[in-house]
C-alpha cells in the first residue's frame, strides 16, 4: 500500500536519492562546491560574529554588569595598548573547545529569553558567586587556557617582575598552580565569600579527579639553590 501510494516524506526521500536526469555531473559538483563554500564560510562568519565584544554586550545583562565592571581594569585600560576583550578570556581559541563552549552558551539564551535569571542587578548579584565558580572551574580544569594565550610561565622574565610577583610565580611553578589560583576577580567584582567558594571548587575537582595538573609538580626545586649560587660568588 505504501509502495502504491507513498506519503510525502517517503516521496521526498526517494526523489532525493534518485539519480538526476537533467543536470550534468559537472553542474552538480560545481554547485555543491559553491554551496559548500557559502555554508562553511557563513558558519565561520556567524561564529566570528558571536565572538565579538559588541555581540557579548548586546544583552543588557552583560552590558550593565560584567562589561561595566571590566571598564578600567588592567585588561581594558593599560599602558601597552593591548586589550583583552570578553571572548579573549571567556571563549577558548581551539576549535573543539570553542564549539563546546558555544553550545553550552545556548543556555545563556535560555536564561535571557525564558527564565530571565540575571535580568536585574539584584538577580545578577545573587547568582554572581555561582557564575564566577563556573568560570573558575573552567579555568582550573584547562590550566587557565585563555590566560595562556598571552601569559606563559615559560615566557616570563622573573627578573623583570616586581619582587613579590617573581617570588610567587616561582612558587606557583614549583607547586603546579595555575593563573586562576591567585588571580581571581581581576576583571569583575568578587562576591562575598569568594575565597571559600574557590577552595570548595578546587576540592570538588580534586575529589572528582578532574585536576589535570599533578600536585606538587617540581619544575624548579632549585629556587634557593639558584639564588644561593648567584649570590655566593662560587
Amino acid at each position: 500500500m505504501s509502495d502504491a501510494n507513498p506519503g510525502f516524506i517517503r516521496r521526498t526521500w526517494r526523489w532525493f536519492w534518485t539519480p538526476t536526469g537533467a543536470i550534468s555531473l559537472g553542474a552538480l559538483l560545481v554547485s555543491g562546491f559553491v554551496a559548500g563554500v557559502v555554508f562553511w564560510g557563513g558558519f565561520n562568519w556567524a561564529l566570528e560574529m558571536t565572538n565579538k565584544e559588541e555581540f557579548c554586550i548586546s544583552c543588557h545583562e552583560m552590558q550593565d554588569n560584567a562589561f561595566a565592571e571590566y571598564q578600567g581594569s588592567v585588561h581594558q585600560n593599560n599602558s601597552s595598548g593591548v586589550r583583552a576583550t570578553c571572548p579573549d578570556c571567556h571563549v577558548p581559541k581551539d576549535w573543539g573547545p570553542k564549539i563546546i563552549r558555544k553550545i553550552k552558551a545556548t543556555k545563556e539564551l535560555y536564561g535571557h529569553f525564558i527564565t530571565k535569571s540575571i535580568w536585574t542587578r539584584e538577580k545578577f548579584e545573587d547568582l554572581r558567586i555561582d557564575l564566577a565558580a563556573n568560570e573558575w572551574r573552567r579555568m582550573k580544569s584547562t590550566n587557565s587556557q585563555e590566560c595562556r594565550n598571552c601569559h606563559n610561565f615559560e615566557y616570563m622574565d622573573f627578573t623583570a617582575q616586581e619582587n613579590r610577583a617573581a617570588d610567587n610565580h616561582q612558587v606557583a611553578l614549583d607547586e603546579g598552580k595555575t593563573c586562576i589560583d591567585c588571580h581571581q576577580g581581576i576583571a569583575h567584582e568578587l562576591p562575598e565569600g569568594w575565597q571559600d567558594r574557590y577552595e570548595q571548587v578546587v576540592q570538588e575537582m580534586a575529589a572528582a579527579g578532574e585536576l589535570t595538573l599533578p600536585d606538587g609538580r617540581q619544575v624548579a626545586d632549585a629556587k634557593g639553590e639558584i639564588e644561593g649560587f648567584l649570590t655566593s660568588g662560587n
Binding site: 613579590r164 617570588d167 567584582e189 562576591p191 649570590t231 660568588g233
Partner: protein, 141 residues
C-alpha cells in the same frame, strides 16, 4: 702605479704601528673582569622591598607593594586573601595585628573586625616621593 705605491707607503706602516700600539695598551674586556672571575648578579630593585621605618610610633605600617585595583568593598577584601591569619603562612605574608580581630567592645573574633575592614583607611603604599603639599612634618625617630 706611483700613486698606489704612495698610498701603500703611508697605510702599511700606519696599520703596523697601530697594531703594535694596541698590543701594548692594556686590554679591557667588556665583561669587566677576568674570564675565570665570578661576577655575582646584581640585585634588581623595582621597588623598596623592605618596609620603610615608621615616622612615629603609632604610624600604621606602610604597604611595600602596589595595591592598584585591589578590591576592598562591602563584598570582598583582596588584602585579606594573603594577610588574614588563615592565609598569611601559606602566602608568606605578614599577618594582621591581632588588635584587628577585636571589635569595639573588646571581643576577640576569628574574622577581621568590621571596624578594621577598610585597610587603606590607615595603610597606604610606600613611595620615596616628594611631599604632595609643602609641610613642616618632622619624623620623631
Amino acid at each position: 702605479m706611483r700613486k698606489h705605491f704612495l698610498i701603500s707607503a703611508i697605510v702599511v706602516p700606519t696599520l703596523l704601528a697601530s697594531a703594535v700600539w694596541a698590543q701594548n695598551a692594556s686590554v679591557q674586556s667588556l665583561r669587566g673582569a677576568a674570564v675565570d672571575e665570578h661576577i655575582a648578579v646584581e640585585d634588581v630593585f623595582h621597588q623598596d622591598k623592605d618596609r620603610f621605618t615608621r615616622n612615629y610610633r603609632q604610624q600604621p605600617p606602610l604597604i611595600p607593594h602596589s595595591i592598584d585595583q585591589y578590591q576592598i568593598d562591602l563584598k570582598a577584601n583582596r588584602c585579606l586573601s594573603c594577610h588574614d591569619w588563615t592565609q598569611a603562612g601559606e602566602r608568606n605574608a605578614p599577618t594582621l595585628s591581632m588588635t584587628h580581630y577585636q571589635d569595639r567592645e573588646g571581643n576577640q573574633l576569628d574574622v577581621v573586625a568590621g571596624t578594621r575592614w577598610f585597610c587603606n583607611q590607615c595603610h597606604v603604599p610606600q613611595a620615596d616621593a616628594p611631599a604632595l603639599v609643602e609641610n613642616t612634618f618632622e619624623a620623631s625617630n
